[in-house]
Symmetry: C2
Subunit: 260 residues, 2 copies
């Protein structure tokens, strides 16, 4: 909504006077700590400025609705901090979480007029919102950006297929093992210091969310995690974190070998 005059430190010479706010806005993507990950990595400096110009940054507390199933698909988002859950529901309230979008992931793409899924923040989330016309302009103006988005959606599809294998054919034990390893990888990718990330998994979501993601009940999730803890495969850590004590064993379990 705010249409501010945009002339930045990197802009070609010109005498325009501009507000600090506008300055900050155009800088946002250039200094963003995930500009080299995610879709944004397809952009050069000029492109990053265009991204900043096309988007608006949002800071949202845990449990905030980002998009609602069935509502008009007006915007596209890029997560730059925190974790978002995507889900679909049945009329009686049964819910399936189809994925978690961590920092660097996008969400909100739709060819239909309305969203076919809901999205909600898990923890404190920072994201960039692109309204649809602006996203389309970016796609047209920056072929590398469009190519990068195509690749990102393709990756998401491969992920979805992997998750279908999990939901349709894995046991509870295998599901939870897979989940913990995935969370370890996610933490590894988003953690600032690699050292402390070693064998650590970030699990900011509740048991309800985990159950709805794995197609289980909270009781089964809880029992399975307890069993892993008793078997010394994992150990609890502070701040919704779990330390993986035996990656190899969990890998075996996750891929269906019956090795304990």
């Amino acid at each position: 909504m705010t249409s501010s005059p945009q002339t930045s430190a990197f802009a070609p010479a010109g005498g325009a006077v501009h507000t600090p706010k506008a300055d900050m806005d155009v800088m946002r993507c250039l200094v963003c700590d995930i500009r080299n990950k995610s879709l944004c990595s397809s952009m050069d400096e000029e492109g990053l400025a265009a991204l900043a110009h096309s988007s608006r940054q949002l800071l949202l507390p845990p449990g905030t609705t980002i998009v609602e199933e069935g509502e008009p698909a007006l915007a596209f988002f890029n997560v730059t901090r925190g974790t978002v859950k995507l889900f679909k529901s049945l009329p009686d309230g049964r819910r399936q979480i189809t994925g978690f979008a961590d920092a660097g992931q996008f969400l909100g793409l739709s060819t239909a007029q309305t969203y076919s899924f809901g999205a909600e923040t898990v923890d404190n989330v920072r994201l960039c919102r692109f309204l649809r016309p602006q996203l389309e302009a970016l796609l047209s103006d920056y072929p590398t950006f469009e190519r990068r988005l195509l690749a990102a959606v393709t990756d998401k599809l491969a992920e979805a297929q992997e998750q279908m294998l999990l939901l349709g054919r894995k046991t509870a034990r295998e599901k939870v093992a897979t989940f913990l390893l995935d969370r370890m990888r996610a933490f590894h990718q988003t953690a600032n210091r690699r050292q402390e990330a070693e064998n650590m998994a970030s699990v900011p979501m509740t048991r309800v969310d985990i159950a709805d993601y794995l197609g289980l009940t909270i009781e089964t999730v809880s029992r399975t995690i307890s069993a892993f803890r008793r078997s010394m495969l994992i150990a609890s850590a502070e701040n919704h974190r779990i330390r993986i004590l035996s990656v190899a064993t969990l890998l075996n379990i996750a891929s269906g070998q019956k090795a304990d």
Copy 2:
């Protein structure tokens, strides 16, 4: 393989002498009966000629492997007739079919060096194969084609999310009802004559495939279909076809209402 002399009435005037083979090749997409559906619909006549030039047509019998899990991802395919199954497997043989690609659907997209899934024909299949460099050239040369592919992948992702809801949260009864309705829609889209397609579902795949698609066993699939038949919700027809007698009731079941 059979190259029959093909010089058609639609060929542009011009004195160039060319082989019948080349003629046929360049015409293939221009006369394809699904050129207005699928990705190809993004192309004008010149584009269709480019498509034909970039691809090779394959005719495959049932049970033929198209791509193998873990093999180099060298090609991209567009199904123009028949049905293809896509799947992922666990080391011990458990399998999840992640989708069926009917006429007009694509398959084989991958950002990785290797395919993360397998694909096999269900019945007699005709498809167009694009080698990777040629696909990439098409994407660069025809922006509308790339945009269309992005939309197609986005749709596939939405489908995958719907299937995750099914796999994770629906009962056997709900799964089978959903499947039958989906097959009805698929038949509706690909049938030549709309009249006979009314309430008809094409089910060319075996019980094993259906079970692996729905995350069930063949016995449960069979029992559930038998129960629907006894309840007069469906009736068997010739040629792997099923007539839906009560779409409304099946819709209720598929969406989780307990209405019989």
